[in-house]
């Protein structure tokens, strides 16, 4: 098509060129031409056009032969095409034929297949019927021979036959016979069931373990899994009960002097749990082999009922023998009434508390054992089961563990235990406080060690119960005890304050001493109690400060120890999902109390600083005012020989601090010297601003300050440069030659020096120099 149309326009154009002069020039145009030049131009153009047309014609003519060749070839191909069409039709016919053939064949194969399947089914049914007959005969003989395993195997075979097959067989020609056979089989099944049950019961009664196990294995063959398990566990329960009864009798007969007498009930429980665990251990393989996995839960559920009953007996005996409830009542009464008249002695509670925690620990251990066993058994049994079944089993397990009487009984015991343990802790702590004693040369008094020993013991005991709730409850009680009661004791001691001494007090002391002497002279005896008690009060204050610090540290240590203890407990699989979070929360509370003790220490130190250090240090510093710093060369050298102030000040400080250094722990002493250093810096600044200085006076002060800083550096571990920064800068200013010299150090010239003084303060200090003119100072641009 494209080849046909393409030359179209050109052919038309040429045609037009011939008849209507469609070339560049029309006929009329040529005729209207008059000018020669125009004519010539038209002519030449026409010639050109002719030439082009000629060329085109040539090329077309050239193509003619090839086109003709092609046409010939096409003509030759015509008959071939007809041949192909015929062949194609033939092929189509063949394919249709083949297709039909194939379909025919395959339908036959399908029929064959069906026939084969039916044949198989027929054979199977024939087999089944044969089996049925065989089973029937077998059962009869086996029963006659008392070969119950064989009989059960036959019944098992019968039970596993397809019920519909049997049904169908009965409708056949031989229906009558089969029916009779079936009836016989069913009868045999029933008979076997009763026989096995009877035999099992008989064996159980006689305690004949091999026979019990023999029939236990037959039950699942008869499809009586549940019954078998329950019967078997009945047997096991009986054994457990017998053993437990024996143990309990033994307990009642134990001598009080026996080594384990104090924990005999915990031991009895242990024996009971161990017995059950052993039963589970030994019989689990049989159950798993003959009943399949996932059945252990049923067995343990039955056993747990017996376990609960035995535990109840033991706990009842425990409560009765140990007077548990009455003791609890007494404790409660003692806690309500503060009267000390009929308070129960905490030491008496000690053994019973230990026993209860031990009992609980054993129970937890046992429950954990059961849990692990059931979980792993379910895991095997439920490996193919759906998520829902797994969840259902998990719920069964949780219910068994949480709702069993054992759990509930133990929780009740632990509930009472916590109250009693709290009482034990509180009373014993009170005792430790009351019996507090201090030995010379020691920093702390006995009560801190005692109290923490008690708290550790109580929490440790709660921890040994393996119950996370119980442990957390005791941690909370301990925190409360330390935070309110014990801290109160220390707080009250600190509140009595540090008795002031020397100077103002020295005078008071002297007058009182005089008074005392006066009175004692009159009474004829000399009493130094007044002075001694002051010393004691001082000592007590310092010891209490040390106590507070040690408490704060001990709490943190206790927290860390508990953390590692708890992680050990949790890694063993005790405690629920939230156990870690519970413990973390309680321990965080405990750690917070450590900070409260730190705050108390700070308070006490501030008190010491303001009552003991400030009243003494202040007058010593005020002496600075009486030393003139408006001095000339002569006085300066005189000062050099006879130090007017700073040496004595340092000696005084040294004397004062030795008392504290001996009586306080290094950490507290450090803090105290820190406080004192700040105090000195502040007070010295005050007196400095009240003095006047000459050039040499400034130098003198610089010297004094240097020796003071040098001394203080030796007594403190922290750098004190920072605290004396302002004073050092003041000394620098007082040492200037001229007022304007300050500009060498100020502003852009300050270099590494950071000024701690404001411009106003710089002027104020400059004004202390009597030789500096106030106009110069005012003129200063700072």
């Amino acid at each position: 098509m494209a080849a046909a149309t393409a030359p179209g326009p050109r052919a038309l154009g040429e045609e037009g060129g011939g008849s209507t002069a469609a070339s560049a020039l029309s006929m009329e145009q040529i005729q209207s031409l008059t000018d020669l030049a125009d004519l010539e131009a038209a002519y030449s153009r026409l010639c050109e056009e002719e030439k082009v047309v000629q060329e085109e014609l040539d090329t077309l003519l050239e193509q003619q032969s090839t086109i003709e060749n092609k046409m010939v070839a096409l003509h030759r191909m015509g008959p071939n095409l007809q041949l192909i069409e015929g062949d194609a039709q033939q092929l189509a016919g063949m394919i249709t034929f083949t297709c039909n053939l194939a379909e025919n064949v395959s339908s036959k194969v399908r029929q064959l297949d069906l026939a084969k399947n039916r044949l198989y089914q027929a054979i199977q049914r024939a087999d089944d019927i044969l089996d049925l007959k065989f089973c029937m005969d077998g059962v009869q003989t086996a029963l006659r021979n008392e070969d119950y395993e064989q009989a059960a195997a036959h019944i098992h075979r019968y039970l596993s036959l397809d019920k519909s097959v049997i049904e169908l067989s009965r409708q056949g020609k031989e229906g009558g016979i089969i029916d009779a056979n079936l009836k016989l089989l069913q009868e045999a099944e029933q008979r076997l069931k009763t026989i096995v049950t009877e035999k099992f019961d008989a064996a159980m009664k006689q305690g004949d373990l091999p026979q019990v196990e023999r029939f236990f294995k037959i039950f699942p063959l008869l499809g009586l899994h549940e019954e078998g398990l329950s019967k078997f566990s009945e047997y096991l329960c009986k054994q457990v009960a017998n053993k437990a009864e024996e143990n309990l009798q033994l307990v009642m007969g134990t001598d009080l002097s026996d080594r384990r007498a104090a924990v005999i009930f915990a031991d009895t429980l242990t024996l009971l749990f161990e017995g059950i665990a052993r039963v589970v251990e030994t019989h689990q393989p049989i159950v798993e082999t003959y009943y399949g996995p996932g059945r252990l839960y049923t067995l343990i559920k039955h056993l747990q009922v017996e376990c609960d009953q035995q535990v109840e007996k033991v706990v009842d005996k425990f409560i009765k023998e140990r007077d548990y409830h009455r003791q609890f009542q007494q404790v409660q009464n003692s806690m309500m009434r503060s009267s000390s008249a009929e308070k129960i002695e905490p030491r008496e509670l000690d053994p019973i508390l230990t026993e209860v925690t031990l009992m609980n620990a054993r129970s937890e251990l046992y429950l954990r054992f059961i849990k692990r066993r059931i979980i792993s058994d379910f895991e095997v049994g439920d490996s193919m089961a759906s998520e829902e079944v797994k969840q259902e089993h998990q719920i069964y397990l949780d219910k068994l563990l949480n709702n069993c009487l054992l759990s509930r009984t133990m929780q009740e015991l632990i509930g009472y235990y916590i109250t009693m343990e709290e009482y034990f802790m509180r009373e014993t702590v009170n005792k430790a406080v009351a019996m507090d004693s201090y030995e010379k040369g020691q920093l702390t008094s006995s009560m801190v060690d005692d109290v923490f020993y008690i708290v550790k013991k109580c929490i440790g005991r709660a921890l040994s119960s393996s119950s996370i709730d119980c442990l957390c409850a005791m941690i909370n009680h301990s925190t409360t005890e330390l935070e309110s009661d014990f801290r109160e004791v220390l707080y009250n001691k600190l509140k009595q304050g540090f008795p002031a001494t020397t100077f103002q007090d020295f005078q008071r002391g002297v007058t009182s001493a005089v008074n005392i002497m006066h009175s004692s002279l009159q009474q004829g005896k000399f009493d130094t109690k007044g002075i001694e008690s002051t010393d004691e009060a001082k000592q007590s204050f310092l010891v209490t400060l040390n106590n507070v610090e040690v408490c704060s540290e001990n709490i943190m240590t206790l927290k860390k120890t508990l953390e590692s203890d708890c992680s050990k407990l949790l890694s063993q699989g005790f405690g629920g999902e939230q156990a870690q979070a519970k413990i973390d929360s309680c321990l965080a509370d405990m750690a917070a109390v450590s900070n409260k003790f730190r705050d108390l220490l700070q308070e006490g130190l501030n008190e010491l600083n303001s009552t003991a250090i400030k009243p003494q240090v202040k007058p010593w510093i005020n002496l600075f005012l009486s030393v003139s710093h408006n001095i000339e060369e002569e006085e300066f050298s005189d000062y050099e020989a006879n130090d007017p102030w700073v040496q004595q000040f340092i000696v005084n400080l040294e004397q004062q601090m030795t008392e504290f250094k001996a009586g306080l722990s290094p950490v507290i002493y450090d803090t105290l010297t820190g406080l004192m250093t700040s105090l000195i810096a502040i007070e010295l600044e005050k007196v400095l601003l009240k003095s006047t200085f000459s050039r040499l006076g400034g130098l003198q002060f610089d010297k004094e300050l240097r020796s003071l800083i040098a001394y203080l550096t030796t007594v403190t571990t922290w750098t004190i440069r920072d605290k004396f920064a302002r004073l050092s800068q003041m000394a620098t200013i007082l040492n200037l030659e001229r007022v304007t010299e300050i500009l060498d150090y100020w502003g852009p010239n300050s270099g590494p020096l950071t000024w701690r003084l404001t411009p106003a303060e710089v002027r104020q200090v400059l004004a202390l120099r009597i030789d500096f003119r106030s106009e110069d100072i005012k003129r200063l641009r700072l």
Binding site: I418, D469, Q578, K582
Partner: protein
């Protein structure tokens, strides 16, 4: 450092949740304290992760555990299962951009577990006393429960809530009548009152959001007070002021630029 998954959408609180009834309510504010807002805006990260302890008390079978389970796990179990000792849940919130945890201690209502449960009352920022709207006797007991819980805490250190549960079980008329009594109780106990249903979930989320917001604000204010006192001891007053100015300027700027957009 381990990554914590982001707080779920419905635990993000940006507006102060409203009270249930104005007749028994702890605070009438509808917005967070301005000071708290700025503190949260400018010092995210410097404010440590805050945790508040919530203790839930009340008679047995009033639905303490159900209330908590509805909120924390969004489920409701028809079967009654007595709580043994204490249960414990941590619920994560994000309040005006700051992560915040509520630690909910669910105590046992049974008398025999009181010994163990009462050990957990200490240090509670929030005490929730629960009663059963369908059993008026349980309301009478709330005062005793509260008293026990307050004994273990410093006075005026905790928020108290009174919550009536099982709203779905009573008719509207009965509910209204009981609420009148409950509001009287709440006022005597200085508590905020809420009626909820764990079964239908009515008001449960709102209630806990309110608890979280109040406790959160309180703890931020406390921390600000503490740090202010602390700073004064160490540095000079000027230093803090300077920081404050720096803080306020960008705040103004952002507001302006927001307006422009």
């Amino acid at each position: 450092m381990h990554l914590v998954p982001p707080v779920s959408r419905d635990r993000i609180i940006s507006q102060f949740p409203k009270w249930y009834t104005p007749e028994a309510c702890l605070q009438f504010k509808e917005h967070f304290h301005a000071q708290v807002r700025t503190a949260c805006q400018w010092s995210t990260g410097t404010l440590g992760l805050k945790i508040s302890k919530v203790v839930v008390v009340g008679d047995l079978y009033v639905g303490k555990t159900s209330l908590i389970n509805r909120f924390c796990k969004d489920n409701f179990d028809r079967d009654y299962k007595a709580t043994i000792g204490v249960d414990f849940e941590i619920e994560r919130f994000e309040i005006i951009g700051v992560p915040y945890n509520l630690q909910i201690w669910d105590t046992a209502g049974q008398e025999k577990f009181k010994c163990i449960a009462s050990a957990y009352y200490r240090g509670a920022e929030v005490i929730i006393t629960v009663f059963d709207l369908a059993d008026i006797r349980t309301l009478d007991h709330t005062k005793q429960w509260l008293e026990d819980a307050l004994k273990e805490n410093e006075p005026d250190s905790s928020f108290v809530f009174l919550v009536g549960t099982k709203k779905d079980l009573v008719s509207d008329a009965v509910c209204e009548r009981t609420e009148l009594d409950a509001i009287r109780f709440a006022n005597e106990m200085q508590a905020e009152y809420w009626s909820v249903s764990a079964k239908t979930g009515e008001n449960v989320k709102q209630f806990f959001s309110r608890v979280a917001a109040l406790a959160f604000e309180q703890s931020v204010i406390k921390e600000l007070e503490n740090s202010a006192g602390h700073m004064a001891q160490i540095g000079t007053g000027n230093l803090i002021k300077l920081e404050k100015n720096v803080m306020e300027i960008p705040e103004g700027n952002t507001q302006i630029s927001l307006g422009c957009c």
